[in-house]
Subunit: 212 residues, 2 copies
DNA sequence: GCGCGAATTCGCACTGAGTGCGATATCAAA
DNA sequence: TTTGATATCGCACTCAGTGCGAATTCGCGC
């Protein structure tokens, strides 16, 4: 468990002892949960088991997480999501928003392929609701991305940027899918996510206009 | 409740008395459920209430639906989903797959705007998991669409068609969003879904290539 | 018509997630 | 040191969903 642990939004203040303990506890729950999920599966792991293993009362669990699913969801693209906004703000504005997003995602995907997030991703496919909630998180990401784009390209229409964000995140989603299949088929010679993403963006360029 | 009710996959056979009863019961549960959801909200409606109102035992409910959510989900784009495949197979192949999908969706959205499906859509936004599962259903639609495209354009690469399907369903999703906002803001002068969809596709054409 | 096998309906008891309430403990700051 | 907010916990409760098996109904071949 050496990778970026999920953490609550840091309000950018010098944190006291209390805040630190809080973060540590949440982090311990998240790590314990992920470990137990990996060992016994998501559904077979009860809340009591997580609470016990994390050294807290069952009731306290719900002080930190709204549901069992949220523990796993906290790992979904952990770090990645938070990094997109800042990364996009670094991009030069002399390119299209979509091109900027493409560049960002290619850079970030090359970095964020941690053991924990990959394991979480596998678990995320074990249940219908988990799969669904992962998709919902990607749509949230999409909306956030459009929001950041609107700051960076204030002259562009919001709907246009929303579409650009949809394309970028959609490409990311399909690339992840291809990447997973690639790994399942050729565990050894599988290419990294970034390459799949590049290929998907290339296909994207040849698809439009929709009236051709 | 005069609109297309959700029904299990019809295996295209002359159905006996048993099959008919089965369909009727499932339909009654779906309609009762939707009605109670509309009256009291999704979470406030218990399974016991649905079962009682539908005239079945609680246990029998689970013979027809896997979960409470599935009752509502059955209404999500009811009829629409099933119509896409056949409609796409009607399209001439001298246009691009994306153009064909665009044409299909524009035609279908003009038709499927029933009271029930709109009501279901509102309910679908009342809970996080419901919202998530709706998105999951759209991704399923996306996959199906790509599958049908592969039949109709066998010379095209599967990945390319997968991207095309992503674009089409993504546009549909964004158009639905715009449409909902439009209705919320101007309940009277709101434009139909098909128009929003057309606009979204127009924006789509101007977004790529991603390297511009 | 008769009866066999499958489909359907149902009851009961059980697990486990999630909530409401309130009591207690801990910590930060005045 | 007091005080108020934060954190921890236990208890009892509701409700979704499952396992099991009994009872019923129905389609169909004989």
């Amino acid at each position: 468990m050496d990778t970026a642990p999920p953490s609550p939004a840091t309000p950018g203040k010098t944190e006291g002892l209390r805040d630190r303990k809080r973060r540590e506890t949440m982090q311990r729950i998240a790590e314990t949960g992920l470990r137990l999920f990996m060992e016994n599966g998501f559904e077979a792991t009860t809340l009591d088991a997580i609470a016990a293993a994390a050294g807290i009362a069952r009731r306290t669990f719900f002080y930190y997480f709204k549901s069992k699913e949220d523990v796993l969801l906290a790992w979904q693209g952990s770090g990645f999501v938070e990094a997109i906004g800042p990364a996009l703000l670094q991009e030069p504005t002399d390119q299209s928003p979509l091109a900027a997003a493409r560049h960002c995602l290619l850079t970030l995907t090359a970095r964020f392929e941690t053991k924990a997030s990959i394991a979480a991703d596998t678990l995320l496919r074990s249940t219908e609701t988990l799969r669904a909630r992962k998709l919902a998180k990607m749509v949230d990401m999409e909306r956030d991305l459009a929001q950041v784009m609107a700051e960076r390209w204030p002259d562009r229409a919001a709907e246009e940027l929303r579409v650009a964000a949809m394309l970028a995140i959609g490409a990311l989603r399909l690339a992840q899918e291809e990447w997973r299949l690639d790994h399942a088929a050729h565990p050894d010679t599988a290419r990294p996510l970034a390459e799949h993403l590049k290929a998907t963006f290339a296909l994207l360029d040849r698809q439009v206009p929709s009236t051709a």
